[in-house]
């Protein structure tokens, strides 16, 4: 799809640059630490990387070039935990190469917020690799909001293992960066484990993006869903690959994926490959992918209320994102993101185009 184009256009760091900013902004408990040698040794088995969905270059980058990262180790039965992480890029810290571990022990509950911002001017580079272990009965919500400027390239890879009766919810919002690749590989290992992945993305101008979301169903009565909403304008290009994979033995599992992208300009390009794999008959699986312009009836309704065409379009796109934004527990955060979405799409208004 567009992966070769992304690789060709990416300027990879050719040397290790230090990252000196504090990434742990806020935490309600003390089991969150920045990576250090001692912790790396303690958690080496968890942190191990054997392969990389983006290929050899990224495998090397993620294994050998690391300049920051966090380890979250939530104790057994610990609840109401909240962690805020920030991966900010500025002139003095233009490169982030993070390798992280999230380990949530049995019956714990944790909300993790990870934000990505830059100063708007520096040519930044981010490559992140996170391994996530959700042990029996624990529940984890990860809210990831990436709002880098166009000057920063963003790659983010995540691998998660969910045990019996555990739940993982991921809200992944990709607003910025003109070149980006994001992937999530989730294994529902334990019976009754659940994973929900909900994503929003926007592409404008000459953005190119590559998304990969995969859920493998191993345990019985597992549930997994991938839901994605996106909007593309100008000459943006996106490739969305997702897979729901029912492995023999995962009886009574149910899984689905749905992707909808709104196409706002004639030169956008959208690729979708929603894959459904199955070697177990006692399951329910489905996927849906659709793309198109904004519904004419909705446009007519809004324009008849006095809105101009571009404003009406933005409103409809925003409203299509609402069901996913509702999953953000913080109302202020929802409003902030709504404003950002509006601003990004307004940047694509006819009078603002070059």
């Amino acid at each position: 799809m567009y992966w070769k184009e992304i690789e060709q256009k990416t300027i990879f760091p050719n040397q290790m640059l230090k990252y000196n900013k504090n990434i742990i902004l806020n935490t309600s408990f003390d089991s969150v630490k920045s990576r250090n040698e001692e912790l790396d040794t303690k958690y080496s088995d968890y942190l191990k990387i054997d392969n990389h969905i983006f290929g050899e270059k990224f495998l090397k980058l993620s294994k050998d070039l690391i300049n920051t990262g966090f380890i979250i180790d939530v104790p057994v039965d610990s609840t109401k935990n909240k962690v805020e992480i920030a991966f900010d890029i500025d002139n003095e810290n233009p490169v982030i190469l993070d390798h992280n571990l999230i380990l949530c022990k049995e019956n714990s509950h944790t909300d993790i917020y990870i934000n990505y911002k830059d100063d708007g001017e520096v040519n930044g580079f981010h490559n992140g690799f996170t391994k996530i272990y959700i042990e029996k009965g624990s529940k984890v919500n990860i809210y990831r909001i990436q709002d880098y400027s166009k000057n920063t390239t963003n790659f983010d890879t995540n691998i998660a293992f969910v045990e019996e009766n555990a739940e993982l919810t991921i809200i992944d919002i990709q607003l910025g960066s003109s070149l980006k690749g994001v992937s999530y590989d989730v294994e529902l290992e334990g019976d009754n484990s659940i994973c929900e992945i909900k994503t929003i993305y926007i592409g404008t101008e000459n953005d190119i993006m590559d998304f990969n979301y995969n859920i493998k169903f191993l345990g019985k009565k597992t549930r997994g869903h991938i839901e994605s909403k996106g909007a593309l304008s100008h000459k943006a290009k996106k490739s969305f690959k997702s897979s729901i994979n029912f492995i023999k033995g995962c009886q009574k599992a149910s899984g689905g994926e749905s992707e909808y992208v709104t196409l706002l300009d004639k030169e956008v390009k959208a690729h979708s490959i929603p894959i459904l794999l199955c070697t177990e008959d006692d399951v329910v699986g489905e996927h849906a992918a659709s793309a198109g312009q904004i519904d004419e009836n909705k446009m007519f309704y809004l324009m008849s209320r006095g809105l101009d065409k571009d404003t009406a379009k933005i409103l409809v796109v925003e409203s299509s994102f609402e069901p996913i934004l509702e999953y953000l527990p913080d109302k202020l955060m929802r409003e902030e993101i709504g404003k950002r979405v509006r601003k990004i799409l307004e940047g694509g208004k006819s009078e603002n185009r070059l």
């Binding site: 029912f246 033995g249 030169e267 390009k269 929603p274 459904l276 199955c278 070697t279 996927h287 198109g292």
Partner: protein
């Protein structure tokens, strides 16, 4: 967890197809493929030079091209053990009385002469590498309809055939298209003149009797402006313990306002590698309808492609795949929407049981020019046990914003709610399940003429016990 009883669906009854005739051949080439074999085939057919040149160029391309890196594992296929040309010991005839008894009996058993009498406008029957019987009803001939075996088409309509032959599926398309170009034999040439509507179907039936042989028929159909045709293709072979190979080509040209329905019931034996290629080029306001039933073969790779090249051109694909023990049926549909207001509907069903693999592989591309394009793709898979495999691998490529595209797929078992609903209407459980499974294949059945719908239902003999899944 309660164990649920599984629905039992019998394998297709192959007794009709597995009867092999004693080998009686006028000529066969040696095994494998080289320039000498190609020249012998061409000489045997007394072809024009351009056709021999095409064959030799195809061979050159074949020798250079690599095997596909995706899809089922074809490493077991040994091209050098295949006999690429087998000429039966008979000439082509337009009367069944002139066809040798053992060949005629084979086609009688398969119901072809009876179907011709009752419901077809014309029939072509191919036995191994050559067409042995060809006939077209008088009123069709009077209207200018041409329905010939391909070799006769090359000679009698040389200019027309040369214009179209292997232009849609070229030797460069893939390795097996190149192989086909080198060794093609048999098949049908059909031309329907402007505004002629052929109300009753034409049928070609391909029977591969020889052991370790290949069948490489070429079907070329041109439906001129405003014309309409329903073409039915059937195929079978007896089962052997050695490989057989089918690498046919179907090229369909539908001109402005033309309509073609192309129906196939494929029932090759379980030793067959079915690597067939089918493409249709549809012009303004034209329509192609594919109806496809895939039941046979050891390995199938079959993806009928519709190229919608004219404004408001349409494509419809309705297909059913049934994969059982030892079968990998990798099938699907491809659509290229390259003109404004084009549309397509794809409806694909699959059943897999007893270790069979049913794979749907789809490709939908909407180019920059295809403003106002609309497409709906629906795939449903029924798995009857967890020894089987069912995969759905669609690729959707969109290159403009003025489109309306939707794709959905489902996999699983029949819901208890559906069975409950029917039982609450007074239908017993067994009958309810039977209705649901037959309903599952109904979208394909209803697209076929009655006789073939009956045959399709006979191919799936269903017994149900307990709950499916």
């Amino acid at each position: 967890m309660n164990d649920t009883k599984k629905t039992y669906v019998e394998d297709i009854d192959r007794s009709l197809y597995d009867v092999a005739d004693e080998a009686r051949y006028r000529y066969t080439t040696d095994r494998g493929i080289d320039e000498e074999i190609i020249r012998k085939i061409s000489k045997e057919k007394d072809e024009p030079k351009w056709m021999l040149d095409l064959r030799l160029e195809s061979l050159r391309i074949y020798n250079k091209k690599a095997m596909p890196l995706w899809g089922p594992d074809l490493s077991e296929l040994d091209i050098n053990s295949i006999i690429h040309y087998v000429r039966p010991d008979t000439d082509m005839s337009n009367s069944w009385d002139d066809v040798p008894g053992y060949i005629k009996d084979t086609f009688e058993r398969l119901g072809i002469p009876q179907a011709e009498r009752e419901s077809l406008a014309g029939v072509g029957a191919q036995y191994d590498s050559e067409v042995v019987y060809h006939n077209l009803k008088e009123d069709m001939i009077k209207q200018g309809v041409v329905y010939l075996d391909m070799e006769s088409g090359v000679k009698q309509y040389e200019d027309m055939v040369k214009k179209y032959f292997m232009t849609l599926i070229t030797p460069h398309t893939h390795k097996f298209a190149a192989l086909h170009g080198a060794v093609w034999s048999g098949g049908s040439f059909v031309y329907v003149p402007k505004n002629v509507k052929v109300d009753v179907p034409l049928q070609s039936y391909f029977r591969l009797n020889a052991k370790n042989a290949g069948q490489f028929e070429h079907t070329l159909i041109i439906v001129d402006e405003g014309a309409e045709l329903h073409f039915i293709e059937g195929c079978s072979a007896p089962k052997y313990n050695v490989q057989n190979l089918h690498a046919g080509s179907v090229e369909l040209f539908i001109k402005k306002n033309g309509k073609l329905r192309y129906s196939t019931i494929e029932n090759w034996s379980r030793n067959m590698f079915n690597l067939n290629t089918k493409r249709a080029l549809v012009e303004e306001n034209g329509t192609i309808e594919w109806v496809s039933g895939s039941f046979g073969s050891k390995i199938s790779m079959l993806y009928p492609m519709s190229i919608l090249n004219g404004k408001r051109a349409k494509a419809e694909f309705t297909g059913i795949t049934f994969a059982s023990t030892g079968q990998i049926l990798d099938t699907g549909a491809k659509v290229l929407m390259a003109a404004p207001e084009t549309s397509c509907i794809i409806n694909s069903k699959s059943i897999s049981k007893s270790g069979g693999s049913a794979i749907y592989r789809g490709f939908l591309k909407v180019t920059e020019k295809a403003k106002g394009a609309k497409a709906a793709v629906n795939c449903e898979s029924l798995m009857l046990d967890n020894d089987s495999v069912s995969d759905t691998l669609p690729t959707i490529i969109l290159e403009n914003d003025d489109i309306d595209i939707g794709h959905e797929a489902k996999i699983g078992r029949i819901s208890d709610e559906s069975i409950f609903y029917l039982m609450s209407r007074g239908i017993n459980e067994e009958e309810a399940k039977s209705m649901i499974v037959r309903g599952f294949v109904e979208p394909v059945t209803k697209e076929l003429p009655l006789e073939y719908a009956v045959e399709l239902n006979n191919l799936i003999d269903i017994e149900l016990e307990g709950t499916i899944g």
